[in-house]
Symmetry: D2
């Protein structure tokens, strides 16, 4: 199990200084002119960000932060009730739900769009048709499209796409997302909304965020949302009630 | 196990709208004038924030985000190597390390300061002396003071305290932190730095953040730092090397 | 952060042999005469076990394995629904609920009993009375006693205590548990059952299991129970229904 | 998000009785004639087990329990050092490493074997050749075969296969595992060991354990091993040393 010796470029210390990558934490980053979102994304992506990119990431993080009483927050509240001395365990339990079925679909959408991005014109359209045909033949959901509640359109996606249109940078992912949406609508004969996860995937794709890291961005946003759920538990505890309600709702049957 | 019926004030939906508390997500929060930090802290604390408070939270989050190769990031990298298909599991593993020994000390510091805050003058000083005496008699570390590396002063704390001095709001926690530091220095006959965790606890105490929620803020900041560690693993994988190095360093002995 | 060089006594390998502590895995432990429970407890406690001890641990593990639809299994089922590709995440989420409020009380009970164990006769009784008085004055529950459902007696405890009576070894914890129960009944003027957690704590105390490790034994037992819950999800999925039921039961209120 | 009303068959209570499925816990399962392994596997699989099957599961669980200082136990020890008040968090962190790269390969191996099991004679052999060809063309490892240390043969697999040969039940998975091993040896022109994970997958396949549940069995076994690691930390703490060693081994480089 040999491996060449790895290094880390994230952080180093001296007696009286701390560095995040090549920046002096106190002098360069805590001077009041940089926000947490800018610093963390630059830290994760290892590059500086434009003003527009900072706005886009702020918008994505706000959008992905909160979804109400979902499996993720139900898990967090249940664990918190059992181990309130250990808040990080409740948050960790909730984050473990950022998997293939919900927020984690962002990666799958990004991988689909990545098939369209290098193509142009009729080639891109043919590939979009192939993607739709594949999913229809397997009778599976196309990640990034459709929402069980928001019809005809997810209001968050409209706002996110507007923001993408304002970008001075490349829009290959954004255009591919819209094209695929058109092909879907045509194929199904009805309009299917681009959902918020799909819009976030396209915006991040155009900023060169690797698909794996997109799920990480979702995890950060959800961690904030889950802290709000635990904070609400302090004032309006629901854990015991959830237990009771679920217990009553699922009867015993051999 | 009866409990009065709880409610939630965090999120609600209609067909074409999403609300975070009493705010329309798209119209009120995604209009480009609000950042993620402002929105998430307002969501967690259920109140609006001043410009100065937003700056303070940004500074705290940046400060707590990254600490290099610590037990938390070692755990995250080790889990990522074993289950790369499951990034949220690696982040969750790393967050489980936000416990009593490191970042979680923020709560203990806040609880100590809360003993001083309601007192004034000589009463406050006597209570500070009592706190020091208690810890010395139990030979335990006083949370919020001392750092294994940064001497004589933690550069982050100096910056954080400066920021606190600029506040127009109450400074009871901040003043208590400084007073307790003076009593510690006098008692031990040498200067012990206020560490970054102590400074963050005082700043948040003066903004009425409940001690339990302080640990939650630390968890959010760390989740961003851990995503940077996993992002670095994609380019410079270290998990297998960590395994090898640890295995070699800890020999078998019956 | 210096520390003397640690070692490990758990496992070593050669090309064609594996050792667990000083035992050859294949020749000594997989010869068909040793069960998993015996091997794992010997591995954890680093000592051989008597036949009676093996029976006691089997009984404890069976007793702690399953508790139906609790916060722990609700968390596991919720996470499984969101990330079915990642079964270990669902189990981990459920185990995070083994905290201070339920199974983790085993440690607190063991620590109470440890105050009685070194005493005899009237001294032990006086200390038991002191323990009851402390908890009554703080209006807190005495860990190991009482059950919200099983009255007058928890049927599992009766069986566990019978098993303890059959032991040829020391019974200081068992006798302390019964004495404390008598003092509680007298003080409250009514019978309060010794619960299963209390009985397990006493049986393990008499086998010299450290209190911290008792929680670990509970974690192992629960991991088996949680796998049964996930296995049931494969045939009778409940995660989406739990989401729906909880969402409907907790209305929005500002 | 509608779903037909689910039920649970795992556990029910009355005032003075507890049932696991259709068995009375105290009278039927805690009568001293049933061990934890038998009870938990019957609970998970929802069927009774033969004596031979109980022996096989005991052997599998012992085999998968312990692997020394691996990413899983390094994560658990690192988290334990940071949050010792929260043992379940350390175990959960370690279990999160039961993913695609190590123990979780058991599922992938079972799915490969499931392609051979329905076939016979030359058809089975042709499918085995197809499996080998697929993996060679993708230059990926065939799960269940090869071991970085144990050559020419993994001693655990030899013992596990012997046990499988003693079965009176079906051996379709076992025979498929051996056949695929022969085809691999022939294709590569050298002997590649059947590893312990492969042998466990085949034994469980022949007992009708669903592939998803196999990973669950591995999780239970690992939870026991991880408790032994934490128990060792109580006597020979290594967490701080691991931190130091890893920190020293991975230098900063921009």
């Amino acid at each position: 199990m040999k491996q060449s010796k790895p290094t880390t470029g994230l952080c180093r210390y001296t007696d009286d200084q701390v560095f995040y990558r090549d920046k002096n934490l106190v002098e360069d980053l805590l001077d009041g002119s940089h926000g947490f979102v800018e610093v963390m994304i630059a830290h994760i992506l290892n590059r500086d960000l434009t003003e527009h990119e900072i706005r886009v990431f702020n918008t994505i993080l706000i959008t992905m932060m909160e979804h109400g009483l979902t499996p993720s927050s139900i898990a967090a509240r249940s664990v918190y009730m059992s181990a309130p001395e250990n808040l990080q365990g409740a948050i960790a339990a909730g984050l473990l739900a950022v998997g293939s079925q919900f927020v984690g679909t962002i990666e799958n959408n990004a991988r689909l769009l990545a098939r369209l991005v290098p193509l142009e014109g009729a080639d891109r359209e043919r590939e979009a048709e192939a993607i739709v045909a594949e999913h229809r033949s397997r009778r599976t959901h196309i990640p990034g499209y459709g929402h069980h509640l928001h019809r005809p359109d997810d209001p968050r996606s409209i706002r996110l796409l507007e923001l993408g249109e304002e970008s001075q940078g490349p829009r290959h992912y954004l255009n591919s997302l819209k094209l695929l949406g058109e092909v879907i609508d045509r194929s199904f004969g009805r309009h299917m909304t681009i959902n918020a996860t799909g819009a976030c995937a396209a915006l991040m794709g155009d900023m060169d965020v690797p698909p794996e890291v997109m799920r990480g961005i979702a995890v950060i946003a959800r961690s904030a949302g889950l802290v709000a759920h635990i904070s609400e538990e302090l004032e309006r505890p629901s854990g015991r009630y959830i237990w009771e309600v679920v217990s009553d709702a699922i009867p015993f049957e051999v």
